[in-house]
Subunit: 200 residues, 2 copies
Amino acid sequence: MGQDDKRRRILDAAVTVFARSGFYTSKVADVAREAGVADGTIYLYFKNKEDLLIQVFMDTMERVLHRQDEALAGCVDPIEQLRRFITVHFEVAGSSPALAEVITVELRQSAKFMRATEMKPFGRYLGIIARIVAEGQEKGVFRRDIQPRFVARALFGMLDELALEWATSEQEQEMTDLRGQAVSVVLGGLLGTQEHSGQR
Amino acid sequence: MGQDDKRRRILDAAVTVFARSGFYTSKVADVAREAGVADGTIYLYFKNKEDLLIQVFMDTMERVLHRQDEALAGCVDPIEQLRRFITVHFEVAGSSPALAEVITVELRQSAKFMRATEMKPFGRYLGIIARIVAEGQEKGVFRRDIQPRFVARALFGMLDELALEWATSEQEQEMTDLRGQAVSVVLGGLLGTQEHSGQR
């Protein structure tokens, strides 16, 4: 087994263990047992339990950022871009309920204790949405009275909550169904008229 | 100091401590010190640290459910109902950044370990949104191709994320500004046409 394979296996084991027992009550030894390696082997690849969680996050973000870049490449229609973004988000979440749970639950708890530099990929992820919205506004496709950064955060919160519900439920609802409704509501909001904005 | 005052003071201290150090690394003794009571006093009111977190949640939910009921009483216009719901949500979150942080971060981590009965107030909260949407659909005000339960979860995720951002940031952005944009996007989505829904 190559070094990369072993690192990968340990990361996958960490996801399983964190999702099952929660990050704080999990032990590095539990991850080692799940991965079928000696405790000491973990420390060849990772500094400690916190580092394991950070690397799970970094690894997932790298994958999802790469997939978003691929999905959006060559697409210039802002509506289609948003549709693709939401699709990829749900595909990644749907590929592993345990991973979705670790990212949406355990990471949120730990995020405030992480250094800002470690959260940078999250900022890049929000940046993709904000850029799509800003371009759509420039092209006159989306209404202009909503801040792109607001839409990015609001859309992320929505997708994150839906992924969490999906991951922790019996998954009776189809991911594609959730995706269709999410696309529909978000586009409705961005294409909508400005008459209902704010206070009245 | 009456019994209710002391219980209240311990709950407020728990919010401060959990927001500062995180639920899992906090100790009951830290909460006692913050509240200015003996460790043993906490156990007159609460079973253990988990019970403290559950009671913070129950107490907050009771307050926010009561305020939502009051805000929505006598209001029959679904658009105005949604507007009021979002306003109250942000008012409660904005009244205490520490409380918003505990509810959005610490509780999410603990939710999967709580018994379903303890999460019931959350279901009631989602139920308020779902009912507003369903009534709006019956009245022909909101489009009918979106499930009320989906809107409830999506809207909650959005508000939760925005409250989290607000609570953990420098709070440079006005809560009222966030509120206006949230109302605008959500209503846009619910009032929007159906042509952009789902796959194409």
